[in-house]
Each structure stands twice: as structure tokens, then as C-alpha cells.
């Protein structure tokens, strides 16, 4: 019964996060392709750069790494990363949401495991490991 309670909370938070991420993904892509926001890399130039290794692509297009794209989120192509980031981060709220449930049941091992998985996600997202800043 308690496992079911955890599963329901996780499922609910994950469902909302995924819906939000997919909506943002599609909306920002529509904005990009329809030309509502000017792209950082012009659409017609994409075929000459998407075949390059990522390091060369970044150097050639002047695209920032890490969270640097946020300062260029008004550009059509980079605004697409908002939805992608939401999708990549939508497991974080469910994980954090489980911790109080486990603590309440004195299941400290699983509370710690949830905290550690969330920590790994935050570490990956931070860009610290990838030198993304």
C-alpha cells in the first residue's frame, strides 16, 4: 500500500513534467521553424554545419556550451532547448517528492537513494563535469 502511494506520487509529478516538457518542445520548435524568432544559425546554413563534429560546429557557429544558451534563448533554434531541458529535468521533482514520504516512514535508505539520484541529475545538469560554463 505504501509502495503504491510512492508510485502514485511519482507518476503524477512525472506525468505533469513530461506534458509540460513536450508542450514546450513543440511550441518552441514551431516558433523556430515558422521564423517567429530569428535563429542563431540560419536555417539554410544548417546542412553545411550539422555534419561537423560538435566541437567544430560550436566553434564555427559561435554557439555557447553549458547554460550559455539561456542568454540566447530569444533565438529561435536555442529556444528549442527550453523544452529539451524541461524533458531532461522532469524526473527531478518526482524524486524530490518521494523523499518526505520515505522520511515519514523512516525509510532513510530510500530517502538517501532518492537524494543521491537527484544529486547525480543536478550534477549532470550543472555542467560542472562537462566544463560547460
Amino acid at each position: 500500500m505504501t509502495q503504491q502511494q510512492e508510485a502514485l506520487r511519482y507518476a503524477s509529478l512525472l506525468g505533469w513534467g513530461t506534458r509540460l516538457g513536450v508542450f514546450a518542445l513543440i511550441a518552441s520548435f514551431a516558433v523556430y521553424v515558422l521564423g517567429v524568432l530569428p535563429p542563431h544559425v540560419p536555417l539554410e546554413q544548417l546542412p553545411s554545419v550539422w555534419n561537423l563534429p560538435v566541437a567544430t560546429y560550436l566553434q564555427h557557429t559561435g554557439t555557447p556550451t553549458g547554460w550559455g544558451w539561456l542568454s540566447l534563448a530569444h533565438k529561435g533554434d536555442l529556444s528549442g532547448l527550453i523544452g529539451i531541458s524541461l524533458l531532461a529535468g522532469c524526473s527531478l521533482p518526482p524524486l524530490l517528492g518521494l523523499i518526505p514520504l520515505y522520511v515519514k516512514r523512516r525509510d532513510y535508505v530510500y530517502a538517501a537513494i532518492c537524494g543521491m539520484v537527484a544529486g547525480v541529475l543536478v550534477l549532470a545538469a550543472s555542467g560542472v563535469l562537462t566544463g560547460g560554463h
Partner: protein
């Protein structure tokens, strides 16, 4: 611009051409070092397409839609098909294909996750310890994958895909494996559960064994998921079902939950490294999600065994293509 971009790519120093993360080289397995020798013959730069810009995203959407349709009846994750097929036959660099592949696998896992959890087919207690280790190793795998030359990754990908074909052809499945005694670790963690089998309507009690070995296997699975950008359902399910003894349906459901966490970690690495292009990722994700919906509806109409054979043939071809491309034989 086309000439300029190609000249930059050719003249760039090896560390730049092959990815930035030489600091991750300490982690490089010996086998990949050995693989690198013949593979350096193949250049990392794909030929430039002469088609208009919109052609390839449209082709990508249609291809992913079709992959999504066949992936469900074939019982394989769309991400497993995505990287070898798109990496082999589309003009995008493998760095961007792997970034998109992770997002395709992630989106599929996230879409199915809530339903599987509510239905009791996905176990948090089983998934979380495995996901912790696999998430950490997927970050290492992603760093390693972005540090190695694309030709090495192509070669290794070819081998992995051919390995998946072998696994699909010969691996057995056990609907309800017999676990006489749970191991100490799974008992201490309370990894067990009950699920209602939809086919028989019966409540099935389950428990697992060989948890320490399972944790080690998931460590390796995480590396592969991050390195190749393929969803690791093909490896998760046999590990959970045949090794740890979880029922097949619980294994498949829990695999999705593990994937959603593992792929998230690796996807962040690709995102932070700039290896996610919305023009490649978004049509792929949307096409795959729509195709999977159709595939799920056609599940009872299509003959699963025929689709499975077709997918195995397709994977065999894509695996050979990746291998030969990596070795510089078929560029």
C-alpha cells in the same frame, strides 16, 4: 560557408576534431583503444548534403514515425533503432545523432512511465538503486563517447548493434522466473512486490536475487547508454528478468523507469556540450512518439513475429553499416 566549415573540420587539431573531453581519457577502456587503430582511417566529417534544409528534418520525422510504429510490436525501444539507422543513413554527425537518440529514448520512457507506475508494472524500489549506479556511469559513458573519435564510436556501435541482434535472436524470456530465496541486499532494501497479471487476473508476488551482480551489470549498461545514445531497454529487460528474476512484465515496466533516469543524466552531458540540435532532436522525438502511439494500437493487428524479423533484419543491416562506416570501408 560550406568550404570554410569543411576546411575548419579538416584542419582542426585532433583533440578538437574528436571532441573536447580528453580529461575523460583515463576512463577509456582498453578495447576501445584497440578499436581506434583501424578506425582513424575514417574521417569524422560527414559529406555535406545538397538537399534543402527542410528535407532532412522532414525525412527524419517520417523515418522516426515508421520506427515508432514497428518498435512497439517488435518489443524493442525506438532509441535502439534510431542511432544506427539515422547515424548510418542521414547526413548528421554522430555526435548530434546520439544526443537526439538519448532524447528519443528519454521521451518514450517518460511517456510510458506514469501509466506503468500506476498499473504496478514498474517498481520504484527495484528501479532506484539500479538507476543510481547506471545514472552515474551514463555520465561517464557520455563523456567518453564525446571524447572519442566518431569513427571509433561507429565501429563500437556496429558491434553493439550486432550483439543486440544476437541477443534478440537467441535470448530466452521467463514470464515468471522462480526465485527461491532473495539475496541479502534485496531483502535489506525490501525489493519485492505484487502485481496483477492482466492476462490471468491473478496477483503475482515477486522478489529478486543476485542483486549485487545486477548492480554491476547496470553500471555497464549506463556506460553504453551514455556512450552510444541508445536506450538500453534491450539490456535492462534481460538483466532484470533473467539475471535478477523479476517477472517479465515488471522487468519491462521497471526498465522504462530506470531508462528515464539514466537517459536524463546522459542527455544533460550532451546538452551541456552543445550536442543537441533542436532541428534534429524535435522531429525525431515527435515522430517517434506519434509512431509509437500508432504501433501500440496496431499491436493486436500486426503479426509481432513478422515485425520482429523485419526489425532484426533492419538492425543487422544498420549494424553492418555502422561497423563498415566506422572502419572506413563503406563511408
Amino acid at each position: 560557408m560550406q568550404v570554410l566549415s569543411q576546411s575548419i573540420a579538416r584542419s582542426a587539431p585532433p583533440a578538437l576534431r574528436t571532441g573536447r573531453g580528453l580529461h575523460a581519457a583515463w576512463w577509456m577502456p582498453v578495447i576501445l583503444m584497440l578499436l581506434a587503430a583501424p578506425a582513424f582511417a575514417a574521417d569524422n566529417v560527414m559529406p555535406t548534403s545538397t538537399m534543402p534544409w527542410w528535407f532532412w528534418p522532414l525525412a527524419l520525422f517520417v523515418t522516426c514515425f515508421l520506427i515508432g510504429i514497428v518498435a512497439v510490436p517488435a518489443g524493442i525501444g525506438g532509441g535502439t533503432l534510431f542511432v544506427p539507422i539515422i547515424g548510418g543513413f542521414f547526413p548528421f554527425h554522430l555526435d548530434f545523432v546520439r544526443g537526439a537518440g538519448l532524447l528519443v529514448a528519454l521521451a518514450s520512457a517518460l511517456a510510458a512511465g506514469p501509466m506503468l507506475l500506476r498499473g504496478g508494472l514498474s517498481s520504484l524500489r527495484l528501479a532506484l538503486p539500479l538507476a543510481l549506479l547506471a545514472s552515474m556511469s551514463s555520465i561517464a559513458g557520455a563523456l567518453l563517447g564525446l571524447a572519442l573519435p566518431a569513427s571509433v564510436i561507429q565501429t563500437a556501435l556496429g558491434m553493439i548493434v550486432l550483439g543486440i541482434v544476437t541477443l534478440m535472436l537467441f535470448s530466452k524470456k521467463s514470464e515468471f522466473p522462480h526465485v527461491a530465496q532473495p539475496d541479502r541486499l534485496s531483502s535489506a532494501l525490501g525489493i519485492h512486490g505484487v502485481f496483477i497479471d492482466g492476462a490471468s487476473g491473478q496477483a503475482i508476488n515477486w522478489q529478486v536475487h543476485r542483486t549485487p551482480l545486477g548492480l554491476l551489470i547496470f553500471l555497464a549498461i549506463g556506460v553504453m547508454a551514455g556512450m552510444f545514445g541508445i536506450g538500453a531497454g534491450w539490456a535492462n529487460v534481460p538483466a532484470l528478468n533473467l539475471l535478477m528474476g523479476a517477472p517479465l512484465k515488471v522487468s519491462a515496466g521497471t526498465s522504462g523507469l530506470v531508462l528515464s533516469l539514466v537517459d536524463s543524466s546522459a542527455a544533460w552531458v550532451y546538452l551541456n556540450r552543445g550536442a543537441v540540435l533542436p532541428m534534429i532532436a524535435v522531429p525525431s522525438v515527435v515522430g517517434m512518439m506519434l509512431g509509437a502511439r500508432i504501433g501500440a494500437r496496431l499491436l493486436h493487428v500486426l503479426k509481432g513475429s513478422v515485425i520482429r524479423k523485419m526489425v532484426i533484419t533492419l538492425l543487422l543491416f544498420a549494424g553492418m553499416r555502422a561497423l563498415l562506416k566506422g572502419l572506413g570501408v563503406w563511408v
